[in-house]
Amino acid sequence: MQSASATTQPLPTYPPEVHAALLTYLVQLADTSLVLGHRLSEWCGHGPVLEQDLALANIALDLLGETRSLYQYAAELEGEGRTEDDLAFLRPATEYRNPLLVEQPNGDFAATIVRQFLFDNFHYHVLQQLQRYPDERLAAIAGKSVKEAAYHLKWSSEWVIRLGDGTEESRQRIEKALRTLWRYADELTTPTPAEQTIQTAGLLPDYASLLPAMQAHTAHVFAEATLPLPEGVVMQQGGKLGRHSEHLGYLLAELQYMQRTYPGMTW
């Protein structure tokens, strides 16, 4: 992931606790898009049809692009000489801050779509706000990524509808995926202490303010899909604090293998 171009933007100055919380948050965002992008890239060559294989790879690439911008910013803000590559390839699973949802295995196409829909609905709405927030660099990254996230959300929403209101088989599969994955939805909008700190500092929208638009979109898509909204699900949390499911370790073992085995390798 070597960058060929230099960035020369001045870094913002914040009180120490805000600086630390922003750094944690940037790494959390980058980890999230990296892990989900990696999961989607596992589909490459295995998609149900060529066009959807390409769609999955395109979305993975957008997420990886967002990841790089975020890690680059985090590495500069940290100021300890680490690079985006160090952050991606040389941290153990316990230091990864992605929510549990994005590390869940691909499963079948329906499971991938449900995971993507839950993520896209949050991602799109948070980026839309964030691009108008005062941290210049984060707002610029959000403004760039939100255009791409709009395509992602449209794609995953239409697939939820196709599968829900499709055949008996597709219906049964998406219902199963919802039973498995809905439990990871709330973590996305439950702020960690670091998120609370930068929300209080005015650098991140209050997640409660995103919920009406997110819920309205979900209600619309599920109505079109003729799917009932899951109810009474016991929610799972912890990924954003470094407590992960077993799946992340296997994912990172593959993702980090080359840099761990041949440190500093480039091609």
């Binding site: 070597q2 060929a4 066009e51 990886l64 791409e148 449209k154 619309h220």
Partner: protein, 176 residues
């Protein structure tokens, strides 16, 4: 690339006016008929004290061509003896297909890629399964075409098919 020559000190004076025409000769590696000026990704060229800063903006966040483009710019300038160059990547304002030149649009269509139809960016999220953008087939020029997938051979393109000549073709998505 003159790697076996001794590094030249700039025999000619470096000015922004000399750099712009050179950038016209750097093409997008994934759409080689387009120069990076046609694409609208060069935002600024500033020369101060014999040092050039060229600001470019990515089309899509993960566009793998960006590193290649930055390298190609360096090599093109180096061939003229200009080695004191910084390439700065700027995310904001985010790139839009509005910045693509009229000449670039024509080159795209001649190459077999439908150019962006302005004003059709994905902006209405609840317009699911909405009507496809009417895109003219670059081959037989029919407007009777349909969207196959929003995601095509690269991040910036969608896949269409012509209902008349039946050819599949790439459409350079409107991105605003």
């Amino acid at each position: 690339m003159p790697t076996n020559q001794p590094p030249t000190t700039n025999s000619q004076q470096l000015t922004a006016n000399k750099i712009w025409p050179l950038l016209e000769e750097v093409s997008d590696p994934e759409v080689p008929v387009l120069s990076i000026l046609d694409l609208g990704i060069v935002r600024d060229v500033v020369v101060e004290d014999e040092h050039a800063t060229i600001t470019i903006t990515p089309t899509y966040s993960g566009c793998p061509a960006m590193n290649a483009i930055a390298t190609d710019i360096r090599l093109r300038l180096l061939a003229e003896g200009f080695s004191n160059v910084t390439i700065h990547t700027q995310l904001r304002p985010a790139w839009t297909t509005d910045w693509m030149s009229a000449a670039g649009r024509q080159k795209l269509e001649d190459y077999g890629i439908a150019p962006p139809v302005d004003g059709t960016a994905t902006g209405h999220m609840l317009n699911l399964f909405g009507a496809d953008t009417a895109v003219r087939c670059p081959l037989c020029k029919s407007d009777n075409t349909h969207l196959v997938s929003q995601f095509g051979s690269t991040a910036c393109k969608a896949l269409y098919q012509c209902n008349d000549c039946r050819e599949p073709f790439d459409y350079f998505k409107c991105h605003a």
